[in-house]
């Protein structure tokens, strides 16, 4: 096919089209609610033609979308892989058709991506662990881990990161650990309630892999009159998570600025599309592929009650969403408006 029929905006018409494939809608609300608008803004600002799709958690679908995009004249393809192998296969195929690829947020081990734009997932887990340790202090504590989907590679990394921190603290004991299929918050409630029952409520801290799961944990703690007494971690700085932090029922979350990440991606993609070298701030080792991938690595930020405001100020969430109903008074207290 030729690119001439593309109805892109003037500036980018010979830059080709940029395709982005997001992973799903269920594991986290960030992809559709934060990343998509941020990417759209960034591409619009740069005046390039783009197409953003979501694979709905299905690697097969991701491969299909990639094919469609390539058939549609996409010359640079960015993906958030659902796991390394499927990502690698997809990139290999794209490369064989002359399409450049970028890893967005998740590194594809053994892949062929030209660039990697992200936060570090292992680091995210470690930050969660540190956050929880801070809320718990030095005393003896029984911990329960509520991990993300067993089929999501990221979830494995998050959990490993958290363990790498928390397992070092000798006063902590892990009394329960379970993965939640599909990151499903509904199933998470039952799973947590049973882990809680199993130890007869003898729990002092909970590692929940993201805000959705944290919400499920808090629901059960509330039922047992312990919300706010047992610290819970989270991730993604979603509205729900921020509200729970403000209300004191959640200990912390991780903020991964979509604006920064999307902006970085746009820069790299446009550079690739126009055949230029992109600006990076380092490389990431791909242990499996045995190569160093040129990277832009951003800092994940742990968020606690004190720093909720910074997320809102940064545009990661809107005050009007967070400060609804009964949460207004907490916002006032935290100086958010």
């Amino acid at each position: 096919g030729s690119d001439s029929e593309d109805t892109g905006t003037d500036a980018g018409s010979d830059a080709g089209k940029i395709g982005v494939i997001l992973p799903d809608t269920k594991s986290s609300v960030r992809w559709e609610n934060a990343d998509r608008p941020a990417l759209e803004d960034a591409f619009d600002a740069a005046g390039v033609d783009y197409d953003i799709q979501n694979a709905e958690g299905d690697a097969d679908r991701m491969a299909q979308i990639a094919d469609s995009m390539i058939a549609d004249g996409v010359t640079v393809l960015a993906i958030v892989n659902l796991d390394s192998e499927s990502g690698a296969a997809l990139q290999e195929k794209a490369a064989s058709q002359g399409v450049a690829t970028i890893d967005y947020d998740r590194l594809t081990l053994g892949g062929a991506a030209d660039y990697y734009v992200s936060f570090d997932n292992n680091r995210v887990g470690a930050l969660q662990g540190e956050g929880l340790a801070e809320c718990l202090g030095e005393e003896e504590a029984n911990l329960i881990y509520l991990n993300g989907s067993p089929t999501d590679n990221n979830a494995t990394l998050f959990s490993a990161g958290a363990h790498s921190v928390l397992d070092e603290v000798s006063s902590y004991t892990t009394v329960g650990e379970q993965a939640v299929p599909d990151w499903d918050p509904d199933q998470a409630v039952t799973i947590f309630e049973q882990l809680y029952t199993k130890v007869d409520g003898d729990v002092d801290g909970v590692y929940a892999a993201n805000d959705g799961l944290a919400g499920a944990v808090i629901s059960i703690l509330e039922k047992n009159g312990r919300a706010g007494q047992v610290p819970v971690t989270g991730q993604d700085a979603t509205v729900e998570g921020l509200q729970n932090i403000l209300a004191g029922t959640q200990c912390m979350t991780i903020y991964k600025s979509a604006k920064e990440e999307a902006g970085a991606l746009a820069d790299v993609a446009i550079a690739l599309a126009t055949g230029e070298e992109a600006e990076t701030n380092g490389t990431t080792e791909d242990s499996e592929g045995g190569r160093d991938v040129p990277s832009i690595l951003l800092d994940p930020q742990p968020i606690t009650a004190d720093s909720v405001k910074s997320v809102i100020d940064d545009g990661g969430a809107s005050a009007s969403d967070v400060c609804t109903g009964s949460f207004a008074k907490f916002c006032d207290k935290a100086g958010i408006s």
Binding site: S28, V29, N33, Q178, P181, D186, T197, G215, E240, S318
Partner: protein
């Protein structure tokens, strides 16, 4: 034609109208059981076996706290499975019921959060949304004649879109209402629990005895009186055991929890309503008739289209109720609410309980028993295993065992060899 009242010869329906003695009755009952006609017995058996296995393998299973957990956790699936009963009775399926529940709950939650409505209004909105979804599915199935599997698959997908759009920016919607949230968190007051239980037991006993007298008076088929009495006493005891157990404190000393979880009366009331509808109304009768032989029902003047549409409407309304209870338990409605395997589990529950997927056979109580079975698996497993893979394996295995108990005991001797 009924103007002449012929004497009934002894060979006609003699056995039918005579009071049988207790041994006779028991022998006949055993015969029926051996003949494969056992009602909910095998499903209950499966549940009991499961309960025993879990109590033996994990000490926590039979704690009061866990039993009340179980009751709350079983609520949504029991409601959903009960809602599926009318649809399954027709020999149809509704794959969209789970997400219909999620979507309806989404509307309920939004009515409270964004529009500050009272919870009653919000629940009404949710039920209405459910009804509309059911109307659409039912109309496409009954009027256009598209197979329900495909229609409801399409709605299963489409409604996930609606839910995503509904939830929008926030990513999830909280159930910001004390009453709704209390449905799964709070308990009926201790005294109120006793009063209600005693009342229910009394109504049940009275109703059963009155019905028995009616049948005896009119010379209709009836079980012997002692059997009726034993049954009334046994069931009343079960009813009274509920407040007896759940009114004890099951929380920690610092945070006492006692009383019957609100979910229980909700499920019980809906179970009674559905049992009534299925056994005592023409609508219920027609569900069975259409499921058994749609053409015969049509010839008998049954409005098959109307029955089908109504079944889907009621199914989605029950799904809405189930979605609201689930949201109350989770504390929020999220993009995945009602999605995933929720529906498959609910259908599995109904089938394990004794509802036929081929239509025409099943009762509301089957859905509840099956729902309890599935919920018991989900409840007991995390007490037992940790590894994800083992979890999947054991869930599958236990499900199979529960279903085998049912299948083996239900197997008809009559068609087997000598």
């Amino acid at each position: 034609m009924t103007s002449t009242k012929p004497e009934l010869a002894d060979s006609d329906f003699a056995i039918d109208t005579r009071t049988s003695t207790v041994p006779e009755y028991l022998r006949a009952y055993l015969g029926r059981v051996r003949g494969g006609d056992m009602g909910a017995l095998p499903a209950v058996l499966g549940l009991v076996v499961l309960g025993i296995v879990f109590s033996v393998t994990t000490e926590r299973f039979f704690s009061l706290l866990n039993i009340s957990n179980l009751i709350v956790q079983a609520g949504p699936i029991c409601l959903l499975a009960m809602g599926l009963v009318p649809v399954l009775l027709l020999g149809e399926i509704d794959l969209s019921a789970g997400v219909a529940g999620g979507t309806s709950a989404g509307f309920t939650a939004l009515a409270i959060v964004d529009h500050g409505q009272h919870w009653t209004v919000a629940v009404a909105v949710g039920l209405l949304v459910g009804a509309l979804i059911g109307l659409a599915v039912g109309a496409l199935v009954a009027i256009l004649g598209i197979p329900s599997f495909v229609v409801s698959l399409a709605f299963f997908l489409g409604l996930q879109g609606v839910l995503l759009w509904l939830i929008g920016e926030g990513g999830s919607i909280r159930v910001a209402d004390e009453v709704l949230r209390g449905l799964t968190i709070n308990n009926v007051g201790v005294t109120a629990g006793w009063v209600v239980a005693v009342l229910v037991a009394a109504v049940f006993a009275g109703g059963t005895l009155w019905q028995h007298r009616q049948r005896v008076a009119k010379g209709l088929q009836h079980p012997p009186f002692p059997v009726v009495v034993v049954r009334v006493v046994a069931i009343s005891l079960v009813i009274l055991a509920v407040p007896f157990l759940l009114n004890q404190n099951r929380g920690r000393p610092t945070f006492p929890i006692q009383g019957i979880p609100w979910v229980l009366p909700v499920v019980v009331v809906l179970l009674l309503v559905w049992t009534f509808v299925l056994t005592r109304t023409t609508f219920g009768r027609y569900l069975y008739a259409v499921g058994g032989n749609a053409e015969a029902a049509r010839r008998a003047g049954v409005n098959v289209v109307r029955i089908k549409v109504s079944a889907f409407v009621f199914c989605s309304m029950m799904a809405a109720a189930s979605g609201i209870v689930q949201a109350s338990y989770t504390g929020k409605v999220s993009a995945s609410s009602g999605g995933g395997n929720v529906l498959l589990y609910a259908v599995g529950a109904a089938v394990i309980g004794g509802v036929s997927l081929f239509g025409g056979r099943g009762r509301a109580v089957h859905a509840v028993i099956g729902g309890l079975t599935i919920a018991t698996i989900a409840n007991g497993l995390p007490l037992l295993v940790n590894e994800s893979y083992a979890n999947y394996l054991v869930t599958g295995g236990v499900l199979l065992v529960a279903a085998s108990v049912d299948a083996l005991s239900r197997r008809r001797r009559s068609t087997a060899g000598v």
